[in-house]
Structures are given as C-alpha cells and as structure tokens.
Symmetry: C2
Subunit: 398 residues, 2 copies
C-alpha cells in the first residue's frame, strides 16, 4: 500500500509530538484512543502515522506524517486536500515536502520529453540550453512578433517563449503566432543550421485547453508555455497525458508566489515548482533566479533545480529555467549553480544588447562556449565582438 | 472597454507612487517614456494606469492599478496572471482586492442558484439554513454512511455535506453514496416534511469532472461539494456553466490557507473566498468561522460574507457558510454576525450531542427558531430538551 508523506514546518510550541499526533489523526480517521477495538481494526489501514518530529530551533519544528494512499485517489487535488486541505487554514504551518512511495509515484507521469527528450529535439548535448523571451510584445502586431522571433532565433537561441501575459488576442492571435513561427523558424534553421523551438502561451478556459493544444500541435507549434498555477497542477497533468499533445511543455511560475513566498505559510518552492511540477509532467520549469530583482533565495532556487534533476525511478528529469536578471556575464555563475542540465533564460539580457537581439543571443552562446571550455569570458571576448559588448554593458569586461 | 482594478498591500518604502508606476507599466506595456510617440499611440489602450496610492501606515501602503481588459481574455487564469502573475514573485506584496468593471463582470456567471435558488429548493425562507457534516466517515462502509445521513436529516438539517477528505473509494463509492442518499432523503422527507440536500464530494481528475458531475445529477445528487482551490477557479466555473449540472455547488476552502493565510503575501480572504468564488459561480462558500480553533479573523470572515451578499448587477447572492467550532449556543452570535442569509454549519456540534446527531440537529433548529423570535436560548431550552442538553454541553445553559 502506498502513502504520501508530508513534512510541515510549524512553530515549536514545546509539544511537537502532540501536535503531530493531532494532525495525523485529525486529517484521517478523526479520533483513535476512544474508538472501540472493532472500529480500530476497521480503520487501522486509514490512520495517519507520525513519521518523525524534529525541533529545528527554539522557534520552529518539523513534523512528518504518512497518509495511507487508500485514503485518497491518486491525483494532486485529492492529495493536496488530504495533506494540506483543512490544515492550510489551521494556524501557522507551511508544507515543506511531500514524498510519494513508489506505488503512488508511478501513478504520476513525469515529463514526456524531459531533459534528454528536449536535447534530442534540438540536437544539443553537453551545454546548457539558451532561452529568450519576447519583449514589450503586448499590443504589438504580428510583424513585430515575426521580427522579434527571427532576431532571437538568428542569435542561436534554442527556445523562444511567449510572454506569459500575452493571451489569445485579436492583434496577435494564438493560431497565427504558431503558423508564423513555424515559417520563420524553418527559415532561420536554414541560416543557423540549428533548431529553435517556439513556446506559444496556451491560455483561455480550462475546458478548451486540450483541444486548443491539439490544434496548436496540428498547426506546427513546437512547444507550449502554460501558466499552470492559475489553472491547477492536475490540468497540466491532463495536457501532459494526452498523446496528441506531442510537444514539450514549459511551466510558468505565474501566481506561484501567492503560494510560496511566505516563510511561515503555503508551500515550499522546491516542492511547488520542483517536485510537484515534475510529477505532473512539466518538461521545463521557469522560476525566479537568485540573481535578479525578482529573486528567489539561493537555497530555494537550487532546491527547485535539484528536485527537477534528481534521479527518479519513474520520472524523467525536467529542465530548470532560472529566470530574471540573467545576462551573459552571469553564464559562469549559472554553470556553477545549475550545471549544464539547465536552461539559461534572458529577456533584457538578449534584447538589451546594444547591437540587438541577434547579437544578444550570440553573446550568450559565446559565453556558454567559453565557459564549457574553461576559458574566462574576458579572454573569449577578445575574439567575440558580441560578447565583448555584452560584458561592457552588464559587467565582467574587466 | 472594461478593466480589472487590482489593489495591493505593499511595504511603505516612501516611494509608493514610483512603485505603483513600475507595476502599472511592468505588468502591461513594459516601458513608456522611452517609447517613440508612434508606439505610444499604438500601446495607449494597453497601458496599465495607477488608480490610487495610499499610505496606510508608516509601514504599509495600498496601490490600485487598472489593467485594461483588452490585455487579457475574460477568464480567471488570464486575469490572475495579469494582475498577480509575475508580481506574486516580486517581493512583499499581497493582492487585497480585484474590481471588475461591468463589461468584464458580466463575463462571469455568478451563482446559478444562489441564496434564493437554494431557499426555493428547500422551501425555507427567513432563517439561516442548517448544514452538517459527516463525522469520522473515512474508511467506514455504506451502512455507516446511510445511518449518519439519516440521523442528520431527521434532526432537521437542510444540507448534509460529505467530508472533503472523502474521495471516490471502494468502500463508499461516489455513485453508491448518491443513490443511497436519494433513497434515505426521500424517506426522511416523509417523516420531517422537509427537503434535505446531500452534497456529494466531486473529486478525481479535472478532465473527468464534468461527466462525473452529470452522472451524479442523473443519479439524483442534490448538491455537489468541490475542493475548488486544489483544482482552480476556472474549473469550478466550467461546472457552473454546464447546463446539465443542475444542482447547487458548495465550494470548500481546502488548501485555501496556502494562498490567504499570510498577512504580507498571497490573496486576501474576502477576495479569494468571497468575490472570486461568487464570480465563478459557487452557490455556497465554506470558510473558517471566527469562533473555532481553526479560525479566521473576524474582519476577514465578515468580509467574505459581505462579498457573497452584496447587491450585484450580474451575480446572484451566494450563501456564506462560516464553519468550525459551531454549536447551538453560538446561534444568536451567528445571527448577529452573519444575518439570516447564511448557513449555520456544524460537525461536532451536531454529532457530539449527548442524545445523538438527530437531537443535535433539533437543538440547532430550536436555537434558530428561538433566536428568530427574539427569545433567549436559556428560555427556549425550558421547552426543548435537545436544546437544553446542548447548552449544558457547550455552554449558554446559565
Ligand atoms: Mg513576462
Ligand atoms: Mg472535514
């Protein structure tokens, strides 16, 4: 029989064992010691069990509870309701981790493509991938879209993603973005010799998403961007599990801060963006980098990447995409922090290059190549104009 | 042209105007003053506008921004992504309120039944409704279910709801709970002369919910309970908008604390449980009462009820269901705080009655009747054994 083991951060009230017992019973069979023995026999397999109780400090404690999977259906809504439904409303408590036993873990798909699958599509191995974002696209027409896409692809960007706030709209409709991107990327591939994926923002009503995603694939979309937390993790899982939606899915952390930002409430970033998104099948996961103004703490960001990259019996590895505040001078740091199985993602760091987005992309690729070879950027810049200009703008030139 | 006007609580950094401008631009067109005039003309209708900036204290400020609805599709995922997507990840900020202009508000259904529709079903007017919850149901068989349901209905409970942690399971399957409830409630109606609704917990995979809900209605379900926040608000809206799902829907606040519990991050309780759940069409909304151990602050609880009850051009009124810690002695207080257009909901306060759940239901109905007539409970108890016993247990007897 499987189980979900939840770990909670709670205030240390000096009675952590008692609190743990209350949670284990309160969220499962309700009561125990006052039950007749015949009822205890019937309910034994449903009873939550305290796995561990640990004082972290004088102020805080960690409590782990195992919830038998016989209590819930094998879906994220039932599991979240079980382990953090009523409890989320019951005072100061943060859900830090959630472990699935193998019987339960295998019920979740994990990524369809994952790290290796995406590398196969791109024919790129042994370097971090490069992603960039449209800039100031809201309200612009399709020619603006086409021009920005071309410039990014020509710069050697592997994946170009929609802005997450660009929805289906009359000025740049979803379907036309896909067909234009298909044409543009076929053309740039002739020039660069490289494949570029375009991640179109899948948006609209939940009930239409599956058909819309299938239509996107039919029209030639090469990837999907999805604001998963405004829909629900299970909705992403349904997209992942549909065999006709045969493209990688990028999960955007939009609205995620509402759940992860507090130190005392909600859900930890490594669990929310890392383990759970991988379980339901995100191929790539965007999250705030530890470097920019929209920043996540270093431990949290590395924790997410770790969850996406850990070996797992059933789930492929997903690609971490630390985002915001990324520019070419940060590439060695990104290698150090996130390794080669990650995506270097920039907006301003590509479009803000003095010579334009194509040069911006090239500067990143030059920085990546140099770092792979162990060459300091400043040395590599001597032979690469675009990188040299980037380092002058963003630092690292001297 | 419509708009969504979002209000944020932020730290007062002494530069609130500047922060407000940054948000208004950053979440829409990106930049403004450095744009050529021709671009400004193209983008003017997309630009976010600062509506107001207010210092609340030396520590905190409120900022209101209007987001033109041309920027997003008229659905909750697009709106939440626009107003609190990236921003939720950007430092200390809480989404306090969200106003829709009429053009936008009319795109959301509001409750199908609402307060009056539910009263019509029950043929009850001018008193708060009475709801109760199954107790210790996890792992129990269908005969236990049947017995508890009957006892509650015979006590005069208007709506009996499933425990939100009871999912579809082999011991008490969803479909069998519905068919048994239909039979039991037809029988109890012969005894009490009153209609009782049973809210079955609609659970499982998102993609199956519509068909499952239709099947529930076909089998005779009289209401649905839904853990909306583990699925997504838009998923609830899809259930509401399906004409074949012709029964009231109770939204459960499960997992909601992950979004609303922090004072500095996430979303305010009146917006999350009140305005937004009403917009997408919940007929009844459960939330922690201000009285129990799982408690919401009084202002927040009253704020939710207020949002559900306010007159609105397009949306029917939804019924607030303050829950947890409710017993018969609290009835006058519940009248005072939530008025007659609310639901009095108890678990332990019904099942914990010394003479059983039927007596527990009766004690509540006696307390409600007395309070309606302006009779103090202690006086009413002289003529009503069940109420007298309840007051002895839960206080209010002297
Ligand atoms: Mg963006
Ligand atoms: Mg419950």
């Amino acid at each position: 029989m499987g189980a979900a083991i939840a770990t909670y951060l709670v205030p240390n009230n000096g009675k952590l064992e008692q609190k743990a017992e209350q949670i284990a019973l309160g969220l499962t069979v309700g009561s125990w010691t006052d039950l007749p023995e015949v009822d205890q026999q019937q309910l034994a397999k449903h009873k939550g069990e305290v796995v561990s109780v640990q004082e972290v400090s004088e102020e805080q404690g960690l409590i782990s509870i195992s919830y038998p999977s016989v209590n819930f259906s094998a879906d994220i809504p039932a599991i979240l309701t079980t382990v953090f439904g009523k409890l989320s409303l019951d005072g100061v408590v943060k859900l830090i981790d959630l472990d699935f036993t193998p019987e339960l873990a295998r019920r979740f798909p994990g990524p369809t493509f994952g790290n290796l699958g995406i590398r196969n599509l791109l024919e790129v191995s042994e370097r971090p991938l490069l992603m960039s974002i449209f800039k100031g696209i809201l309200g612009r027409d399709l020619s603006f879209f086409e021009q920005q896409l071309r410039a990014q692809a020509l710069g050697g960007v592997d994946i170009v993603k929609d802005d997450e706030i660009l929805f289906d709209n009359p000025t740049s409709p979803f379907e036309q973005r896909i067909t234009i991107a298909k044409k543009v990327l076929q053309e740039t591939e002739q020039v660069t010799g490289e494949t570029t994926l375009y991640a179109v923002n899948l948006s609209g009503r939940s009930i239409d998403l599956i058909e819309k995603a299938k239509q996107a694939v039919y029209l030639g979309a090469s990837a999907l961007l999805f604001n998963v937390f405004t829909y629900g993790l299970d909705t992403l899982q349904a997209l992942v599990e549909d065999k006709d939606i045969s493209v990688p899915i990028l999960a955007h952390p939009s609205f995620g801060g509402a759940i992860t930002a507090s130190a005392s409430y909600g859900v930890s970033a490594p669990l929310w963006y890392g383990k759970l998104l991988r379980a339901v099948g995100a191929d790539l996961v965007l999250f705030p980098s530890p470097y920019g103004s929209v920043a996540l703490e270093r431990d949290a960001a590395l924790g997410i990447a770790n969850e996406l990259n850990l070996p797992h019996e059933f789930w492929k590895k997903a690609l971490p995409v630390p985002s915001a505040g990324i520019h070419p001078a940060l590439v060695p740091k990104l290698f150090e922090d996130f390794g080669i199985d990650s995506v270097i993602n920039a907006g301003g760091g590509v479009h803000g290059h003095p010579a334009g987005a194509t040069a911006g992309g090239r500067a990143f690729r030059q920085a990546i190549q140099a770092t792979q070879k162990g060459i300091p950027l400043i040395e590599a810049a001597a032979a690469h104009t675009e990188l040299a200009e980037a380092l002058r703008i963003w630092g690292g030139a001297s």
